[in-house]
Symmetry: C2
Subunit: 147 residues, 2 copies
């Protein structure tokens, strides 16, 4: 069984605008986490908070290639580390594809399928919020998925 | 393994507005399918088209309780019928929870996990588009998830 999950969207903005929305701690609050402790740069450990869900997590940024890709790990503090690779591909000045691939789920985990299904939902939600924010200035789509 | 997938969102609109967006063939084009052959009513077979993905499907509407719930089956033409139950719960005149539960995936299907992951992504996307449309009049969030 393939335990990677991949989600890809087309966003009608430049790669730079999509990239900045993710790495800039002020921008991120408009579509994803409520706060990010600092700008995402290679080698940094960043604390992300999601006030509405009472959640907090640490990501370790492994690679950043501006306007092209971002690789980080998260979940290490709960012994369920996965690797997230975000790849941007600028089609033209006004459209970019963004692909998010999360890998490293443990095949022996009895909760594997639930986790994969949950993470898929999370990534589709994040990318929907990102697109709605960048293209339409909507910053209130986030934080409304309920458990 | 639980093969149901459930997705729940809070939308800041009345249950009637959320309900109408789904059952009305004009409304649906703003956030989900490109067309729906007729209004969703109990017992009807409805043809849904998704022009951007070159896709078409038939749903069989089993139950409709206005502003409360909608139950339908789909996928019968591909011998992979599942049951979708949409439940609305109006919290007050300006907020409603919408829960979508899809069940009936075949446990012996070698593609079971991929299908569940894919459907989860689809429902999160549909509900994100629905919320963005109803709350912010955004009708261009749909049809941008790529395979």
């Amino acid at each position: 069984m393939d335990t990677q999950i991949t989600t890809k969207f087309k966003i009608n903005k430049s790669a730079k605008e999509v990239f900045e929305a993710i790495v800039d701690p002020v921008e991120i609050g408009n579509f994803w986490f409520s706060s990010s402790s600092e700008r995402w740069e290679q080698g940094r450990m960043i604390t992300l908070k999601y006030d509405e869900y009472g959640a907090e997590g640490i990501i370790h940024v492994l690679e950043v290639d501006p306007n092209k890709n971002i690789v980080f790990t998260w979940g290490a503090e709960h012994d369920e580390e996965t690797v997230v690779t975000i790849t941007l591909n600028e089609l033209d000045k006004m459209s970019t594809t963004i692909e998010v691939c999360e890998s490293g789920f443990k095949k022996e985990d009895p909760e594997l399928v639930n986790k994969m299904v949950g993470q898929k939902g999370g990534w589709v939600y994040m990318l929907s919020c990102l697109k709605s924010y960048l293209e339409n200035d909507v910053n209130n789509l986030r934080a409304s998925m309920l458990n």
